[in-house]
């Protein structure tokens, strides 16, 4: 089946899969966003416990999505993996550190004799939510704005900046830094919106939810400010395109805007996604009693569609998905960074499992979330976090 596809079609297929995983990861960031609000929403021990436990039943899925995203990127676009991870060393190390401290925090937070104390583990959760979302958002923005590296004729990469990726977030002499940070902050506030919507769906406690409701619109407004700043800027800047025949890379005026015009289906997905994100927020914000618990699904699906479309925007239509600002010809495209055709075909058969995986995740989620979390349950449950 997959053997009959062209090499380019397989590269596009795998870019779509990596994009989908990236989109699902941003949706799953409701865990991270929720973590940054544990202390500002929970005023009593039991309220904090409810918040932590509602997130604690999902944290591992976010973690797994991140690991699978990394694995899929390694398998399908190894040159991106070696260039970005080996190059932007400090950015990725900070991201990894943020996830290391998250993994133990749920399980250890309330256990007796936990060495560091409950508040330390809660701080770990906050740091994970804060750093993880902002840094990953900032790193993804560089797909549009470019990074400082070169690739030699043996396909070995060299990062040109001694700051090892930190310059992408802190070099304020470049306008692109503001664009990068705007997406980082946009993802951060979106994750907080998603976290609030998830609480609406999974916790049954009027006081707590009313408090969360008050935070929804502020976070939504901040998300919109940063996201729109990012979106408008990338549509106006020169993008990194390549000639499909000679493979020569060049700066193309309004490249990403042109991609919107030239890929209308993707544009529809993007618009639909943005509308759904806003609709979910609107309904949960202004019709909380009737639709509050459904907001996570509407905004969540909108998030997946929006992020998916943004990834396609930067990877397809002869666009460099990981551009180099040091040497244009070193820029990575889905054609020059991908695995061999054989590997993509083999991996494509494995990808047929993805719908099955999504189906059992959905089933397990539904089974566990049939009953919302209550204060009483927290007092009774022997495996509460």
């Amino acid at each position: 089946m997959f053997e009959n596809l062209s090499y380019l079609a397989l590269q596009q297929y795998w870019w779509a899969i990596v994009s989908l995983l990236g989109a699902l990861l941003v949706f799953m960031f409701f865990v991270q966003g929720g973590q940054t609000m544990i202390r500002c929403l929970g005023k009593t021990d039991n309220e904090i416990k409810m918040l932590v436990n509602s997130l604690g039943r999902k944290w591992d899925l976010t973690f797994t999505t991140l690991v699978t995203f990394g694995g899929a990127a390694f398998a399908s676009f190894p040159l991106f993996y070696s260039t970005s991870f080996g190059g932007a060393y400090w950015v990725w190390m900070l991201i990894l550190f943020a996830f290391i401290i998250q993994a133990v925090s749920y399980e250890y937070r309330t256990k007796k004799n936990n060495f560091l104390g409950t508040k330390t583990y809660e701080t770990f959760l906050f740091l994970n939510g804060f750093l993880g979302t902002i840094l990953i958002g900032t790193a993804v923005a560089t797909f549009f704005t470019g990074s400082d590296f070169m690739v030699n004729n043996m396909n070995q990469s060299h990062w040109m900046s001694p700051w090892r990726g930190l310059e992408l977030a802190f070099d304020f002499t470049r306008y692109a830094t503001f664009i990068n940070l705007s997406l980082g902050l946009g993802v951060f506030f979106l994750s907080r919106v998603l976290g609030i919507l998830y609480f609406f769906n999974s916790i049954d406690d009027t006081t707590l939810l009313e408090r969360a409701h008050k935070k929804l619109l502020t976070n939504a407004a901040l998300f919109l400010v940063f996201f729109l700043f990012f979106l408008v800027n990338i549509l106006l800047i020169d993008g990194f395109g390549y000639d499909p025949v000679t493979k020569e890379v060049s700066l193309v005026p309004y490249k990403y805007f042109n991609n919107l015009i030239e890929m209308p289906v993707n544009t529809i997905i993007l618009l639909l996604g943005v509308i759904m994100v806003l609709l979910g927020i609107y309904r949960a914000g202004f019709h909380f009693k009737e639709c509050g618990s459904k907001g996570i699904w509407i905004t969540g699906l909108g998030t997946v569609l929006t992020v998916f479309a943004l990834f396609l925007l930067v990877g397809l239509n002869n666009t460099c998905f990981y551009p180099s600002i040091s040497d244009l010809q070193s820029s990575l495209t889905i054609e020059n960074a991908s695995s061999s055709k054989y590997t993509l075909v083999a991996m494509s058969y494995v990808s047929l499992l993805v719908p099955f995986v999504l189906a059992y995740i959905w089933y397990a989620w539904r089974s566990l979330n049939k009953k919302s979390i209550t204060a009483k349950e927290m007092e009774d449950d022997t495996h509460a976090y």
């Binding site: 899925l61 070995q156 397990a364």
Partner: protein, 514 residues
Amino acid sequence: MEQFDLALIDWSRAQFALTAMYHWIFVPLTLGLSFIVAIMMTIYVKTGDELWKKITKFWMTLFGINFAIGVATGIILEFEFGTNWSNYSWFVGDIFGAPLAIEGIMAFFLESTFIAILFFGWGRVKPGFHLLSAWLVAIGSNLSALWILVANAWMQNPVGMQFNPDTARNEMLNFWDVLFSPTAINKFLHTISSGYVLSAVFVVGVSAWFLIKKRNVIFAKRSMVIGAVFGLLSSFYLILTGDESAREVFRTQPMKFAAMEGLYDGETNAPLVVIGLMKQLPDPQNPNLERFAFKLEIPNLLSYMAALNPNAFVPGIRDLIHGNEEHGLMSYYEKIEKGKIAIQALSEYKTALEAKDQATADENLKLFKANYAYFGYGYYDDPHSLIPHVPLTFYSFHLMVGLGMHFLILFIVILVLIFRKKIEKVRWVLYVALWTIPLAYIASQAGWIVAELGRQPWVVQDLMPTLSAVSNIDKGAVMTTFWIFAITFTVLLIAEIKIMVSQIVSQSKNEGGH
């Protein structure tokens, strides 16, 4: 191809070893305890006996504590291939990346989805679905081990691929050759069975402590039976797969095999050193050096175990370096020459292509292909650089094997005493069982040292040395992250041990367990 500062290579290796060894403290317990919990839960669901429910919940809690830190230390490993070994990531990414991605799709999602059901499903989902979740968590954990070990096995014995000079990387030719290579199968089976044995030792040891303290006796005895039976069956399997794994090493990594056995001069009818004390650090250039101050040998056994033939020739370190015409062994000197030819030919091939000189390119390509099997050797001038640390490999291997035998005997003794209803009376056995817990972890780490230190200096056997695989970053950055991870993991390990001990003590005082 690039070469890097030795200090950078050493720090990068140290960081990877640190994270891998920390990760490997927690993973074996996850692999086996997941099955032990599933078995206990199955008995509870079948019998409806509340004590089995308590037993299941207790071991499940310990499983959860251990699982969390295993996840924390695991994420860094996957991304370190990119952050610290970026040249490696490109050179082998076409093959190595696929198992990692499959691991995520097939195993991690299974594990992470159903672990939530396992922990929080009590009273929320039907008992049958809850039980199924326990088994799916166990299968998911072990499936994740399969894929990462397939990737690791490929590094030890690269098969199913060919080098593409245009992209300067190895590309997969046959997925099934990679998945079903004998190295991969043996590595997977031996590694997971070692995890099962460690978990069984853990369950038996903790239960023994309950009995020493005379607390929760029935609870402890039931746990001990499950642990010991599981451990006994796993031990037999561990020995069988270990035997086959060693033979596989003999076939594919003869230098590692020689280091494992401390064998400097090859011989037919080679004896097996059961116990040995090395006299001094090795010097392969001195043929008269006495290797052992003391040794206990079994005649012919090494030849038999290596090749199923007591008369077989087992090459030693010196045979591999200097070659052995009688037994058809090419010397490392010759391999280094061929490797240098391959590296030079690849470089000239690339230059000729850029100059559009197809004839020269073709000529160099031919030369390159003829010598590619020795590509990695070309990075070295001195063949002695290709010897792994012999004493460490030798002692780790023998310690692992000796402790493996100890575990087998322990499980048999425990089961006999339980069967004869004397387990509480023979207290020294209980103490031995308790103190065997750290020994299981030592054996497990020793196995890792044999596998990974024994393959040095290769990151991919014969093709890519560690010194050319590293990311070109400042060594100060790697030193900094090394210490950050060392401190973080140590703190988390202390937290884990304190929580585990606290949970065990708390359960032992829980009267409901009687």
